[in-house]
Symmetry: D2
Amino acid sequence: MFVFEANPMPAQFTFPFSPKGKSAIVPSPPWSYAGDALVVEFWARPDAVKALLPEGLKLDEDAGHAQALFVDWQFTASGDEFLDPARYQYREFYILIDAIYRDKKVAFCPYIFVDNDSAMARGWAQGFPKRLASVFQTRTFAAPSKASPRLAAGNRFAGSMSSNGQRLAEGRVLIEKPLENPSSLASRPTINLRHFPQLATGKHQTPAVHELVQAQFSNYSLKDAWVGRGDLVLPECRGEELSDLAPLKCGLGFRASMGLTVDGLIILPT
Amino acid sequence: MFVFEANPMPAQFTFPFSPKGKSAIVPSPPWSYAGDALVVEFWARPDAVKALLPEGLKLDEDAGHAQALFVDWQFTASGDEFLDPARYQYREFYILIDAIYRDKKVAFCPYIFVDNDSAMARGWAQGFPKRLASVFQTRTFAAPSKASPRLAAGNRFAGSMSSNGQRLAEGRVLIEKPLENPSSLASRPTINLRHFPQLATGKHQTPAVHELVQAQFSNYSLKDAWVGRGDLVLPECRGEELSDLAPLKCGLGFRASMGLTVDGLIILPT
Amino acid sequence: MFVFEANPMPAQFTFPFSPKGKSAIVPSPPWSYAGDALVVEFWARPDAVKALLPEGLKLDEDAGHAQALFVDWQFTASGDEFLDPARYQYREFYILIDAIYRDKKVAFCPYIFVDNDSAMARGWAQGFPKRLASVFQTRTFAAPSKASPRLAAGNRFAGSMSSNGQRLAEGRVLIEKPLENPSSLASRPTINLRHFPQLATGKHQTPAVHELVQAQFSNYSLKDAWVGRGDLVLPECRGEELSDLAPLKCGLGFRASMGLTVDGLIILPT
Amino acid sequence: MFVFEANPMPAQFTFPFSPKGKSAIVPSPPWSYAGDALVVEFWARPDAVKALLPEGLKLDEDAGHAQALFVDWQFTASGDEFLDPARYQYREFYILIDAIYRDKKVAFCPYIFVDNDSAMARGWAQGFPKRLASVFQTRTFAAPSKASPRLAAGNRFAGSMSSNGQRLAEGRVLIEKPLENPSSLASRPTINLRHFPQLATGKHQTPAVHELVQAQFSNYSLKDAWVGRGDLVLPECRGEELSDLAPLKCGLGFRASMGLTVDGLIILPT
């Protein structure tokens, strides 16, 4: 195997490898994000949640409890990437399911979809199993308009996600009051299954990388967080299994702005 | 010619005509909008501006003066369309050039691009000559993040527009201070050339509709308006003439949120 | 109203109007096309078909009979547009329903979707009520491969259409034998309802253009036409009425290549 | 590290891992392909080519010699994926540069772009450094039409590729005669740099996977191959380095259909 340290292009995090590093699909970390999120709490069938947990994770006692998130993201690394929104701005939908790792309450991400390749590549590096989709959510704007729900009790926001032309998820949030304890929104660490397959002949069942990891964040911020009621639909679609998580019941709904920096990750022992 | 009033589907503004009107590309007006806008003031070659003016409009005395606008829009009619962002949310880029109509200072829109078909159809009904493109702009988010420029002096926002895979426009705004006199942003009425071609054999040069119109707005609102310096690039591209307006000089830059309702229009006499 | 003949830009069929005409969304006719088509014959509920017929058309005696077509198109006018596939190549899905116009058997197009704005604009000029969608069909390639169905008995082709993230149509064709009488594929003239709305205040219900038209074609060619069995699904979707035409029964399926030129149209008397 | 063999989802090649494997971004290999390709031979600056070669590869004696390929692909694995073109059909642009591996003439792929996420994921598994783009090429259709160039001397085909709204490549081929010795089209084995980054804190410069690999193909077929003259443009674009390979000279051009199966790969010693 090649020793990377001896490579003449050492400073670049990932491919394509070009002399100045500008063509790379992802700039080197740390990676900073700002976003608007719609979040719907729900309960899926416990056996459907259990079937998605990798080795090392167990079903939470609140079996089947999960969250669906629609996020409009803006990204930057150290190169003012926020000024190139055509390449780096993106939208995301993902599911977090409650799980237990070594007696610790964690969240695990079995499904995630984005509309941008740089986001997909960063996701894979972090263990997020990203696929492409179109993702949309209702926005609020500073100027008053019938077209823009204000952040005020009784207003509604909706999100949707479609992949390969099929509508896989629709969510709605009715906001009722400002969220007093913001920590309730993201109280569990997210554990991912980082995986890179092996295509070497005869070894397709022995992946090159297959490990539980925990992201390392900094600069977490939350603003304009509102809570109310949420609703989620995960329709049955050809060639897809996301609908196995179709809600038995929905719970709280949230709408918030947030910021964070991804610095790296920790590989977890089993 | 068919008399529309006798048609069994009378209440629908445009096609496709379906029994309940749900399939229509555009719901019936009035149409309400909320948006975030980046605006760059610039001066193009006066002869290039003049070449775009239809009969009935004359070159303004500030010959060549124009604006480029990038807008993230949210739309609604009377059916809560803001809750279906996959179908109705969109992004737009357009140029307004200063002109004179019967001694009145007006703005004329020679080029406009959107990323949504419902917006295109509404545009055509209003006389906006819309084509499809991908349009992006830097956003600001409520939560602090390195990835999000705050509305504060010295911060930068960028926009870009690409059609059929060619980058036709790039803009930047450096905001310096809140805008004290917001009326400076949209002081002229917008005059459009409403056009619908004639494909009847032998009559291709006699359009079915070809008239100057002025939009009728209500509920205009402006919020969080900042002013600073703007910059715009309109690169030469194969099969395109937008670059004829390439700035000789750029001027002010703006970043603002706005809302408005389009109620109808007036057909202007020549 | 403006007299178009006096306009300084007389030779251009439609907007945007630029000095050399290059920016126009559509080049001037005639328009030539080459395409690969999947066609599924089906019968919808007669009342659902009847509800889509405009004034001037009556239900055919084979009440409910219709066709669904998926087409991969390549377009050219007189400017070698086939060498700019990013701007002019496109994919289309449409429905043709049997109808009677003044005792003549015709086909009427109530729904049509494309993935390209130039195709949309040409469609509107012809009376096709086009909206945007993503459209795909299985292709056959000259080189043998497990990934490519050959034109041979027993092989299968599939098509799908999704608009605004919802899967609105799925079709399949199993080919059985070469089509001996190609005229069976397109035996009826297509009648469209050409419509352009009126946004002038107080006149929204009196469209500027609303007329039945018949396209004028030349250079029609058909090649490699196969016939077999077809299957079509039109799923129920939020905010859509296409599913009212969901097949009661499906019939023949076709797969063919075709070429044609659109020269103009005739406005039909009522 | 987790042992994959003990995982309850052993039969799935890559993520997302769902009980039946249907949600996976890529079905398990082998992977079969059929495609139409436009190929342009060219010579870039030798130092620009050399700067892209990873450790283990040397510059070929025909320094700077390269090929640009535009391909319309159809994909299938064992699940009739060719019948789900919305998910699995795709278009690709890539560059192959001549290189030497241990005295063997090989081709190396420094840049490759596709318009589909499943293709991107398969590419990464194979060591192709894929990013997203829109890719188009002129097609030929069986039925005669002015819109369709036939496979006959003097006809022209064009391709283009745009990523994040910038036009990165344009190619043209004028075909002159059938290709008599098809092996001239793909005479060298393709060597890729398979890479998967390491995000573990403090180890960003030590990738998890970084190795030269050679694909293992079977069922290679070529049909309707024509040769003539090629032309290629790689414009300078913001944030991109592909233009460093801008042709000093262009050579032959090809247009062909091809099929192949990817069975696996061999990891190459250094």
